[in-house]
Symmetry: C2
Subunit: 408 residues, 2 copies
């Protein structure tokens, strides 16, 4: 007996999250076990409020445009479910499961990051505890941060890394035109893991240029050692470019960028960081008295869908389709990538979500040089295939075309 | 009798300045009046220090890669020549003209913005005052700011506008995914003229979306009126996006972003502005208490050569070639664009540089709406053809290929 499926998107935007949505839709249409495929507005928020739409009637052009549209087209949320055994949260679970029953949902797909896998884990645990059967909860990874366990890399990371490597290569050209002594500090997203910051060094492998110094959150940051690194680099040339992760910290655990915002935290308790490069700009200006500039690549890192890794988009679509295909046997699982090299390829496999949720995959020690101020060639070899190929984005009148669901 | 030519690049980087350089090289090769074509390192700095190279032996592949490389490949400078009649500056002019004579330079091309046209004007005036003949000084425009007189638009502007419109369209998608009340303030380059900020509204013409509010330096900025504009916009939807030029000012002439940097000024007396969006972020947070985020698009606006307007690159190349062709009859001139519409086309014509230098072409009143918080359709119709077409950038191993001159 065929059942319906519902898919939601959650967490921060990426440029590839809709490629995964299109993969789920394609997979659901192919799957013999799935009847209708619904899309929830704003993740579980929409499921709780009955806001959803039927994705069954999107035509090929709509799907093609959706695939190249950045940021969750269904809308996102940052809602955290209560612990499944917390009596105070019972009403929320009951409301969700009543919705699933009313719509004959047999397959629940949640495209998101770490926090979304937490949602999948809790729904699975609640169903198990209450002996609710006949509904399969499947997580599909999505994060530009590449910091999820259970997958060799994450959908959306390759496109973000390609945009960042390209932009930094361009900034390297930009800063090289003058002869005056100057330091440009580029701040890259990544609160805990330095994968995206590591990608700034990719031009080294490909064209021989790269930032002079690269600091990841995985290595303790020391301001005096940083000044020493700059002094050494000034012997080589006068225009230095430094890439820093927003999440770099001092030995005592303090963030370098701490204190520049009001200490606000999101619903998951993550503190907002802003101004790591700004803080360093002031410090370098004081110490060296030269021209210093800070550049935050900011939001475009996660939504610059005009520059997509063809590899990333193919895999992001593939993992969505695989999730639909594997859904009868993958409840409580996230579908992860399994990477092979020589030649590079990726396959999709289910991993228990309880083993993944709330864990962080950091850049390993062997990917960072001994001085802790750059990445190794092994790191670049890991990154290189993930940015390969340019996805052929469709334009109209000079701008990339996006697909937007009409308001419900 | 054929003479040699020298070309220099000056001022801030653009993504199209090397397309113009390639145009000059192509034009010089074709021109019967030009023998060798030299490239000065770092503009007139290199001419004063004898740092230059022969551009005659670049092969077709090198020229193709040079064309898609952002930021002055020959290096740039911000050197300002002294007034030609100032005895204190005589030595500099004598040194330059001695260099021209030694190298048998008959044609001097300077690719740059307003300040570079000032250099062309001074060299022309000095030669005239000292009855030096046989050398033609030709300016070629270049600025992302589109604020030069004597040309319907500027080489480099179209690509910057395309990048900015595309990035803002992506940010509009990014900010739309959540349901919480929020304001995103995007700061765009443009100290005096709001052309680039106006380009943020281009998605309105093409896909119906655009920032809710757009503030150019040409309209006086009033913080209370701004708060009122936001209040009205919140009636329509909860996620607002505001585009502001870095150069917006209050009625008393103070920059909104003033005071956030140390009041430093460059060699031309321009004051550095930074933090217009940051300043507004704090003000909006205090007034509305909602989530507020500021985004500076920063350096990529002038060097994101992975996203080039095919129209801009064709014209930027064309104006360089036209300069070489017209050089015998265009001394003391800048080669400007003359635009025709229905259908859109551009031709190249010399304009007296003395009429252009140190003037600024602002966005006209009819391009700004009555409330001073958005641009009109007439403005978008002016901008639209300038971002048309995607230049086919060549990649290798996932990154755009750049051409770099080896160190001299």
């Amino acid at each position: 007996m065929r059942q319906n499926a519902i898919v939601g998107q959650s967490g921060g935007p990426t440029s590839a999250i809709n490629a995964t949505l299109v993969g789920v839709i394609a997979g659901a249409r192919e799957a013999r076990h799935i009847d209708r495929i619904y899309g929830a507005r704003n993740g579980i928020e929409g499921m709780l409020e009955g806001r959803f739409l039927d994705l069954g009637n999107l035509n090929d052009e709509a799907l093609l445009l959706l695939k190249q549209t950045p940021a969750a087209a269904l809308g996102s949320c940052r809602k955290k479910l209560p612990p499944p055994d917390d009596p105070a949260g019972k009403a929320i679970f009951e409301k969700l499961f009543a919705f699933f029953e009313a719509k004959n949902i047999g397959y629940f797909f949640y495209i998101g990051g770490n926090d979304s896998m937490d949602t999948v884990a809790k729904l699975t645990a609640y169903a198990k505890a209450h002996r609710i059967e006949g509904i399969s909860f499947v997580g599909i990874p999505k994060t530009i941060d590449n910091d999820l366990e259970g997958t060799s890399h994450t959908p959306g990371f390759g496109s973000a890394a390609k945009y960042i490597a390209t932009s930094v290569q361009e900034i390297l050209r930009d800063t090289a035109v003058y002869t005056v002594k100057a330091v440009t500090i580029v701040e890259i997203m990544g609160r805990d893991a330095g994968w995206l910051t590591a990608a700034t060094a990719l031009p080294r492998l490909l064209s021989g240029v790269s930032p002079d110094l690269v600091y990841l959150p995985e290595a303790v940051f020391d301001i005096e050692r940083f000044f020493g690194d700059l002094e050494k680099a000034f012997f080589r040339h006068s225009n230095l470019v430094v890439a820093v992760s927003e999440g770099i910290r001092y030995a005592d655990g303090r963030y370098v960028g701490e204190g520049t915002q009001s200490g606000a935290a999101d619903a998951f308790g993550h503190r907002y960081l802003q101004g790591t490069a700004k803080a360093l700009e002031a410090a370098v200006k004081e110490r060296f008295g030269c021209k210093v500039r800070s550049v935050e690549l900011n939001l475009p890192q996660r939504c610059a869908a005009h520059l997509l890794s063809a590899t990333d988009i193919a895999e992001s679509f593939g993992v969505g389709r695989a999730a639909a295909e594997l859904s009868p046997v993958a409840s409580g699982c996230m579908i992860g990538y399994e990477r092979k090299d020589d030649p590079y390829s990726v396959s999709y496999r289910p991993v228990e979500v309880s083993e993944i949720a709330n864990k962080i995959r950091l850049v390993p020690r062997e990917f960072i040089n001994e001085e802790g101020n750059h990445v190794t060639d092994a790191c670049l070899e890991y990154l290189k295939p993930l940015i390969a190929g340019e996805y052929p984005v469709l334009y109209r009148d000079g701008l990339p075309r996006h697909f937007v669901f009409s308001l419900d």
